[in-house]
């Protein structure tokens, strides 16, 4: 171990395994209310401009939505578009790739533009698995009930019923592409239990589920008749006749030039917002998760739902600091890992739901019972050694090879030393309002994946997000083809960024001319300020 890691672990309390007292429903509610970031008053702002004016959201989200364009006025458009396609898909994660594959199969001309390489996304990072009600005695209806309960009843039932009923068909599609899910000895898909579900329903590919999905689907989309533009994030949507969407402006990160795309239909599949570091939280998300789709569509007048609701995963690594935000899967707690505060005491039942465990960790740390790190953060111990003690030496290595590999690379052997954890910003529960065919409130602008909202209510259950990508990615792809065929032809002369001008005028009125920050930011900037 390095000196730093050495000295950090030199002063550890004695761990007292006495279980914490169980929480009553009232205690649980009050714990959430007092400590879960969504419900805390600090760091919040009320949106003042646009379709969601009046909603209280994290400051960073308000800044994202009430921002000025990267493209300065007057926003002139070149005489001819650089590309003219039926369907433009923005974002090359699971949702975007699925939409592209289904749209191109129908013969439409498809352009897939993405920020990094195709597949560099939150999707590739998924570990746990996909929910699909395949077990004996399980049913799509039970899947519906569990998800609705987990989402606090705020889920859109129409979206949810489509998810649970079409889920198995999309699993069939994935298998036909050659994706390898874990099997039981009888050749069935193995089903594991995830948090908040009444039945085992998670299908997975070890702890590499997202990687397995992306490796395969990326190869398919590269081989499909789809034009792919990598390192070309969209920075603005284009408006056509009647306020409908008519394409987008892409920013070529290498040539540093704008590229104008005329499209009969646009699908936003830009994913989440973790890299905005709401409330200063570290994140589990990939490098490009900066909420671009929300900000571009909001300027055009698209409505958002549950945009005040985020998932903070309780166990993100907080020390060594270079690993901050990295996820330690919920499954370790299922397998018997325990959590201790600075005094060596357990403070919450480790099997409570994600939001309750996260709140309890935040409580310990804000009330002085957190373990301080050399960089001034604090966290609690997540001890995996108890898994080996209970289930036999070597269990951690066998079941969680990826965790052992990653921690050991950073000089902490998790089978001997507890991992220091703190909640990490993980998932955007809400997003662009949509219906079962991916429509937003703007004509010819569709959405799929984490950028959309409504399906999960105000809390997503593990495994439903991946399922959503395939069910609604396919639907959006097919709908986009249909709409592009039905849409009346329009000329490039009718295309503009008038909506951006209007939005900026509204901002200027509301903020009395004060300069607004620019968005989308595309990437976080972690460079040392004085470097």
């Amino acid at each position: 171990m390095s000196d730093l890691v050495d000295s950090f672990y030199a002063h550890m309390p004695e761990f007292d395994e006495t279980p914490p007292s169980a929480l009553s429903p009232e205690e649980r509610a009050s714990l959430l209310k007092s400590f879960y970031p969504d419900y805390r008053p600090e760091g919040k702002a009320t949106i003042r401009v646009g379709p969601n004016a009046g909603t209280v959201v994290p400051e960073e989200v308000a800044t994202l939505l009430e921002s000025r364009s990267r493209i300065e006025g007057p926003r002139l458009i070149p005489d001819h578009p650089d590309r003219d396609v039926d369907v433009l898909i923005i974002g090359g994660g699971g949702a975007g790739i699925t939409a592209a594959l289904h749209a191109s199969e129908k013969g439409a001309s498809v352009l897939l533009a993405t920020k990094l390489r195709v597949g560099d996304s939150n999707t590739v990072m998924a570990e746990g698995g996909i929910q699909s009600a395949l077990g004996e005695g399980d049913s799509p209806v039970d899947h519906f009930r569990d998800t609705f309960r987990g989402g606090h009843g705020a889920n859109d039932p129409a979206l949810l019923s489509v998810l649970v009923q079409e889920g198995p068909q999309m699993v069939e599609w994935l298998i036909s592409r050659g994706i390898l899910f874990d099997r039981d000895p009888q050749g069935n898909l193995s089903l594991r239990k995830g948090g908040g579900t009444s039945r085992p329903r998670l299908i997975s590919a070890k702890d590499y589920t997202g990687l397995e999905l992306i490796r395969v689907l990326k190869e398919d989309v590269v081989n499909a008749p789809v034009e792919i533009l990598e390192f070309s994030p969209a920075v603005e949507l284009l408006q056509g006749p009647g306020g409908a969407c008519a394409g987008a402006v892409l920013w070529d990160l290498d040539s540093r030039k704008y590229l104008y795309v005329k499209a009969r239909t646009v699908i936003l599949a830009t994913g989440g917002t973790g890299r905005l570091h709401l409330g200063g939280f570290a994140t589990s998300n990939h490098f490009g998760a900066t909420g671009d789709g929300l900000c571009m569509a909001y300027r055009m007048g698209a409505k958002l739902v549950h945009i005040d609701s985020f998932q903070y995963h309780p166990t993100g690594v907080i020390f060594p600091s270079e690993m901050a935000g990295m996820l330690i899967t919920e499954a370790v707690r299922g397998a018997g890992a325990r959590m201790y505060n600075r005094l060596g005491r357990r403070f919450v039942n480790e099997l409570e739901t994600r939001d309750v465990v996260a709140s309890a960790i935040i409580r310990e740390c804000s009330e002085g019972r957190g373990v301080p790190t050399p960089s001034g953060a604090s966290g609690v111990y997540l001890d995996l050694a108890s898994i080996d003690r209970e289930a036999g030496e070597g269990t951690v290595l066998k079941r969680f090879p990826n965790i052992v590999k990653l921690m050991t690379r950073h000089q902490v052997d998790p089978t001997r030393f507890p991992i220091l954890v703190y909640p990490t910003l993980h998932y955007q529960n809400g997003g662009l309002q949509t219906d079962p065919n991916g429509h937003t409130s703007i004509s010819n602008l569709l959405v799929a994946g984490e950028a959309s909202g409504g399906l999960h209510g105000t809390n997503r259950l593990m495994g439903n997000s991946l399922l959503e990508l395939f069910v609604f990615g396919r639907r959006a792809g097919l709908e986009a083809v249909k709409e592009s065929r039905e849409r009346a032809p329009f000329s490039w002369k009718e295309v503009s960024m008038a909506h951006v001008d209007h939005f900026e005028q509204a901002l200027a009125r509301e903020f009395e001319g004060a300069d607004r920050p620019m968005a989308p930011t595309l990437f976080p900037d972690y460079r040392r300020k004085d470097s």
Partner: protein, 228 residues
Amino acid sequence: MDTSQKEHETMVHVSINGREYDVPAGSTMVQAMWYTGHEVIHGIGCLGGVCGACATVYRMKGDFRLRNALACQTLVQDGMSFSMLDSYPIQRAHYDVASLTDPKEELFTFYPESATCRNCNACTEVCPQGIDVRDSVWRANFGDFKAVAELTMSCVMCGLCVSRCIAEMAPHEIALYARRAYGAKELPFPTNLRTRLGEIEKGIFSKEMDRLLALSPEELKKECEVKS
């Protein structure tokens, strides 16, 4: 996250793309690049060790050996010189897994070079995921696609094995082909999925689902035991 924090007071001396810098000990290679003001775009994807975007080549002072690593996962050390390999050119087969008829033979149509492996083992030595890459190539050649699947499940497609292969093949693409062919063509279709698909087709859940969807929001919450 913020690379200016004070956790690491000791500095180490490194060379990035041939230029010398002092950076805090305990930084990853990517963080060392941020610390020294580099804007890294090609070369970062997930920052979590799974996307394979950050393949990097490095050498330690006084050691002739060339080593490779994933830059988001590897800590800098004193005397390290490194450069990122943003993208290693590869040859990728154009095929549709559904229309394969004899996948084991077709491997040699799509990747004839796989038969030219010279057993040097460089691919295995370089792999940051610790995969026995050489073995996976041979298993693919012998048609044991199941073994390929088991050996290569953790492959992040970083392409480092390609950069070293003296037969100039892309072992990870060959493995991907073999895994896909195994999943789509060899493995029997899962029984529990087939059963459930049949039930859904027959509509046996529709009545109950329609009943739920017809409930008022309050009734639905009660039915699903939503705790407020």
